[in-house]
């Protein structure tokens, strides 16, 4: 019973969602199932939040390695949750936008979350430079082609590319570095990306069929039979 009901739900929902694309009478049911999905998606927040609290509380209780960071995580989570849930300092009161200017939630978002997130992302530049230095070596023909393409893209994504080759007449504009960079993106890159996308799509179709037909049951926490 525990296995059959979820498999039956998966079969019905999957079949209806596929049919809703091709048969207008079933379209309405497809919309309703999409709304059910959106409602269920909200519960992921409860699960995520609950899981975060459980794991970090346990770490603090057992005083495991770096438990101090867990204290910061739990305090930050509870503080931000309270600020958003009870709309603390929100000038419009409880009915106003959670991100209303002047609210505690928005202040914390703008002055803590925003700069911290941006800082983490900005560090990428340093690691990309270090990784490029080590990875882009002209060891063979393939690596050399990759190296040349990377140079064109790097230069094409700066105004210097246009300064260096802007004098080339419009009829040969493909030879201007920024246009060469775009050509690499929309031709060789496109070919590779499409091949990957089509491969992924076929994989998704096959996996979806396995799920709908009940062949794939690992999502229920049991091995396939």
């Amino acid at each position: 019973m525990k296995r059959n009901i979820p498999v039956a739900i998966t079969f019905i929902v999957g079949t209806v969602l596929i049919l809703s694309v091709f048969f207008p009478p079933v379209e309405r049911m497809g919309e309703d199932f999409s709304i059910f999905f959106d409602i269920i998606a909200v519960f992921a927040f409860f699960l995520g939040g609950g899981n975060l609290l459980r794991i970090h509380s346990d770490k603090i209780y057992r005083k495991q390695k770096d438990w101090g960071f867990s204290v910061v995580t739990v305090v930050g989570f509870c503080f931000m949750l309270a600020a958003g849930l009870f709309k603390l300092w929100n000038p419009g009161g409880i009915a106003a936008d959670v991100a209303a200017p002047g609210s505690l939630f928005q202040l914390m978002y703008n002055w803590i979350f925003n700069p911290l997130g941006a800082t983490m992302y900005a560090l990428l530049a340093f690691y990309v430079a270090s990784a490029s230095y080590r990875a882009f070596r002209a060891k063979n023909i393939d690596a050399t082609i990759l190296l040349v393409a990377s140079f064109i893209i790097l230069l094409g994504r700066t105004p210097l590319g246009m300064y260096a080759t802007g004098w080339i007449p419009e009829s040969f504009s493909i030879l201007q570095i920024p246009n060469m960079a775009i050509w690499i993106m929309v031709s060789p890159n496109l070919a590779g990306q499409r091949a990957i996308m089509i491969g992924i799509a076929l994989g998704v179709v096959s996996m979806s069929l396995r799920l709908i037909l009940g062949v794939e049951r690992t999502y229920l926490g049991v091995d396939n039979e």
Partner: protein, 305 residues
């Protein structure tokens, strides 16, 4: 100041790189912290000396600008904030530029987000861009912020047939049936243009798969540079244009400044950030050359015994 800044920056960096290149002729590798130091200089010196470059829009960017220009005043443009604070410095200049351009042209702007973090960023855009720069524009008439709903692409699956099944109110709790901007809007199919700004999941790709393509609705995109290559396969059929990274934002800002004298003094973070990006790219290229020099000379040394 600008010229002196450029000269000082170039001299410091070029001399340092030359020294490293000469070192690499003996086959010696460069330490990671030296690379970090040069990268730090490359991104900070242009900001200190305010080094900027002029930009020329490429066709992939100009297409979006021309689309917004060609729509009749009063057209409905939906801008989705599909990003968070980590991506904001790179893609926020794009969403700000789209909002400025759309409102200056007299279009109706609807802001939303498929990312939970997008709602605060769209609220910031209303507060920092719309209210001070367009004081004559009225919330609910000329623009509206309907915020975030959970469900990722599931949200698009619903609003492509009916907005109100997912969004009953805007972020301030005002019923969508009572606002002028939503009169005559039933679903995404009533939009004249949709723009997704982001770079992760859900983002531009989901807008193509679940809204633009099935609904045959024009879609434009703005994305972080690292994600842009994955979106180019959709250009130009499913995506009318794409702003890739800060370069795309800078090109769009330069187009706005060129065509709208009222924005001559507007903040242009995209153009400003192109200084550090240009120098950072040059540094990366220089280190790739140095890396190859040390690789070849080390190899030769090994062969020579």
């Amino acid at each position: 100041m600008n010229n002196i800044g450029i000269i000082i920056s170039v001299v410091i960096i070029v001399l340092g790189l030359l020294w490293l290149a000469i070192r690499s002729l003996t086959g010696r590798e460069v330490e990671r912290r030296i690379i970090f130091l040069f990268m730090g200089l490359a991104v900070s010196l242009p900001l200190i000396f305010n080094i900027t470059f002029s930009e020329k829009a490429t066709p992939v960017v100009r297409n979006i600008f021309n689309k917004i220009e060609s729509l009749p005043a009063g057209s409905r443009i939906l801008i989705s904030f599909d990003y968070g604070p980590s991506m904001a410095p790179e893609v926020e200049p794009m969403s700000n530029a789209f909002i400025r351009h759309s409102l200056a042209k007299g279009h109706k702007v609807i802001l939303m987000g498929l990312w939970a973090t997008g709602q605060s960023l769209s609220a910031t855009a209303v507060q920092d861009i719309i209210k001070p720069e367009f004081p004559d524009k009225i919330d609910g008439v000329d623009y509206i912020n309907i915020g975030y709903k959970a469900g990722n692409q599931g949200v698009l699956n619903v609003i492509i047939t009916d907005f109100r099944k997912m969004y009953a109110t805007d972020v301030n709790g005002v019923n969508l049936d009572s606002v002028a901007i939503f009169k005559g809007i039933k679903s995404l199919r009533d939009m004249d243009l949709m723009i997704s700004v982001g770079g992760g999941f859900p983002g531009v790709k989901e807008w193509v798969l679940f809204a633009a393509d099935p609904g045959n609705i024009p879609l434009a995109g703005g994305s972080a540079a690292v994600s842009a290559p994955t979106y180019y396969p959709y250009y130009p059929r499913q995506l009318i244009g794409l702003l890739g990274g800060i370069k795309g934002a800078a090109e769009y800002e330069s187009e706005i400044k060129k065509h709208y004298p009222r924005f001559a003094d507007m903040p242009t973070p995209g153009i400003k950030m192109m200084g550090p990006q240009t120098l950072a790219h040059l540094i990366v290229m220089a280190f790739i050359v140095i890396g190859n020099l040390s690789f070849f000379f080390a190899k030769r040394k090994k062969i020579d015994g």
